[in-house]
């Protein structure tokens, strides 16, 4: 009897649930065919090519060349995240407290740069940073330096280019958090005897943590897998993981090794995401209201 009721209920409920599900099927199918399947295919190739087994992973973890790429990827992502945070904090604070007109103007500038083509923006930095670029020419014209500074095809170039691209992804969650803070809280802290530095470190900063968490997560994970900017502004000595994968696929046609590297990148990214999610919950995990 009980079983029958349950089955009937399930039978009644299932179509209703499906009713809300069906309209999403074209999108899901598209994602399955063009995204999930190729990714799975690549990951499968990492354990199937050239023959079944884990030899690709042994090679990736065993070689110092690949290890250097991993380390470099983390170093670059960390530097970019820290520099972005330091630049984004004052911008976000300004956006949150400035008069509406100024804030919306700055907001428009940030969004506009975000909507501009990534490649265009990266080439713009190439023009600015190269040996005969505006920056080097100006500095030399003023007599501040005798020979052009090496600003491109190295870590400096990558950091400058990527920080610029990542800035909005840090500013937006930060300013949303900062704007939700009540200025009266800081007045109270000040009247309690806290000087400016104490108000900042003991009250403002702890309350901004959810925004910092969200921004840092987003920028760090995006930086880990970044391709275009490091490829154009970076040098051969500090290759990043995404570049390595591209090279393995395009030049060496080693799909198995590329799949192994891709899986490692995926696992690390999801791992960071999980840690962040655990500490800060939904809001910090990239959900910005």
């Amino acid at each position: 009897m009980t079983t029958m009721t349950l089955t009937r209920e399930a039978a009644v409920r299932a179509p209703r649930r499906m009713a809300g599900f069906w309209p999403t099927s074209p999108a899901l199918m598209l994602l399955t065919v063009f995204f999930v399947a190729p990714v799975l295919g690549l990951l499968l190739r990492s354990v199937l090519e050239p023959q079944p087994g884990l030899q690709n992973y042994v090679e990736v973890f065993g070689s110092t060349t690949y290890l250097r790429v991993f380390v470099n990827t983390f170093v670059v992502a960390t530097i970019v995240t820290v520099v972005t945070l330091m630049l984004a904090f004052p911008v976000a604070w300004f956006l949150a407290v400035a008069p509406r007109r100024w804030a919306s103007l700055l907001f428009a500038v940030i969004l506009l740069s975000m909507w501009t083509n990534l490649l265009t923006r990266t080439y713009a930095w190439m023009v600015l940073l190269q040996r005969t670029g505006i920056i080097n020419k100006t500095l030399m014209g003023w007599g501040l330096i005798a020979s052009p500074l090496p600003l491109i095809n190295n870590l400096t170039g990558v950091t400058v280019g990527m920080t610029y691209i990542m800035l909005p992804f840090m500013v937006l969650p930060l300013q949303s958090t900062i704007r939700s803070l009540d200025p009266a809280t800081f007045r109270a802290a000040s009247l309690c005897g806290a000087n400016r530095l104490q108000v900042f470190t003991r009250v403002f900063l702890p309350l901004a943590v959810p925004g910092i968490g969200a921004g840092v997560l987003m920028v760090f994970v995006m930086s880990l897998g970044y391709f275009v900017t490091p490829a154009l502004l970076g040098g051969t000595s500090n290759m990043m993981l995404a570049e390595l994968i591209a090279q393995l696929v395009q030049s060496l046609l080693n799909w198995g090794l590329a799949g192994a590297a891709a899986l490692i990148l995926l696992v690390v990214s999801l791992g960071i995401y999980a840690v962040q999610f655990r500490f800060f919950g939904f809001k910090a995990a990239g959900e910005v209201e």
Binding site: D182, A188, A189, S190, L191, C192, A194, N195, R202, P206
Partner: protein, 353 residues
């Protein structure tokens, strides 16, 4: 008052052409409870913020114990404050919130712990030391804010409409707490509110603000019984305002229907003569019982029995509506709607502006 403890001298604050506070002066004695009462935008909060150091007055000075406070930054003023909104630090527990002002002053841990315990006892929240602010009711949060503001023994405690977000019952409960804490600690309190009942209940003296100025400064009794202006009379308590003619030589006032009130107190009717605005409190009316007193006739258009008194609306012969409160002993002969009624009042209770 020999030397005032806190002295506010000719404070003025302008924003462009808008004058928020104009020539406000006030001396406050140590241990006094003074309330800034007034409608919103009357300058009471602006004055308080000038004392707290959140804004710099355009002119004037604030002296504490004879020394000017204006050049001292907020965090060095050593003033306690409870805000209208909940300003507890949401990432700190109740005990850590109360300890905050002591920690930024780098006091020894043992002293801080003892002081936090004493403060939580003062506001009767000993059992809630480990709670987070979000887990507490609005009333509890404001009590913690009070404990935090008093933890560093400030000479002055500022309170900016601290109870306006609470419901009436809770508000009255915390008013009693504030009164008790004022008695126990002896701290000088400056309290801002727009609620006259709250002001009357709590304060030693009330400064009634209007349009950026202090309209009248005095005890609650002074403000109610001897209002200095029509604004004060209208703001504190309920009032009836009637048109009338004042004759100083006869010491009489004539109402529009010809009723003459003889023997008014000249010191209570202001400097005017001729057409004046007359004020009679609703509870100063009595039923006329045939004695030789002014007799004002009208028709009852509404009655509400409220236990302690009966509230009447009386339409006068000239078409004005009077608000009348009759005490319980006049209730014996119940007044009915539509009935004609004769009222009187003591000439000494009549005021004119």
């Amino acid at each position: 008052m020999t030397r005032p403890f806190l002295s506010i001298r000719n404070i003025e604050k302008t924003y462009g052409r808008v004058v928020a506070v104009q020539d406000v002066s006030l001396d406050i004695a140590q241990g006094e409870f003074v309330t800034f009462l007034g409608p919103s935008g009357s300058g009471k909060s602006t004055t308080l913020y000038a004392i707290a150091g959140f804004l710099q007055p355009t002119r004037g000075d604030v002296l504490l114990g004879g020394k000017s406070l204006l050049s001292v930054p907020s965090n060095k003023r050593n003033i306690g404050m409870v805000f209208q909104r909940y300003t507890l630090f949401p990432h700190l527990s109740v005990a850590d919130n109360v300890a905050f002002p002591l920690r930024v002053r780098r006091q020894p841990k043992a002293e801080i712990d003892a002081k936090v315990a004493a403060m939580l006892k003062l506001v009767r929240l000993e059992t809630m030391a480990d709670r987070m602010p979000a887990q507490m009711s609005g009333g509890q949060q404001q009590r913690v804010a009070l404990a935090r503001a008093l933890a560093y023994d400030p000479p002055i405690l500022l309170m900016d409409e601290p109870l306006s977000a609470l419901d009436k019952k809770l508000r009255e409960e915390i008013q009693i707490e504030i009164k008790r804490i004022h008695n126990e600690t002896g701290v000088t309190i400056l309290y801002v509110t727009h609620d006259q009942e709250e002001a009357l209940r709590l304060s030693d003296r009330i400064a009634l603000f209007n349009a950026g100025r202090i309209e009248q400064l005095g005890t609650g009794h002074d403000l109610y019984e001897k209002p200095a202006s029509r604004f004060v009379a209208g703001f504190i308590g309920n009032s009836n305002f009637l048109h009338g003619k004042l004759s100083r030589s006869d010491r009489s006032i004539t109402l529009p229907d010809g009723t003459a009130i003889q023997g008014v107190a000249l010191d209570k009717v202001g400097p005017g003569q001729g057409d004046v605005s007359i004020m009679i409190r609703p509870d100063h009316f009595r039923l006329h019982n045939g004695e030789a007193a002014p007799r004002l006739v009208g028709t009852v258009t509404d009655t509400t029995y409220l236990g302690e008194y009966t509230q009447l609306t009386v339409l006068t012969a000239w078409g004005g509506a009077l608000s009348v409160r009759l005490p319980p002993d006049d209730r014996a002969s119940p007044v009915e709607k539509g009935q004609s009624i004769a009222l009187t009042c003591a000439p000494l209770d009549v005021r004119a502006f």
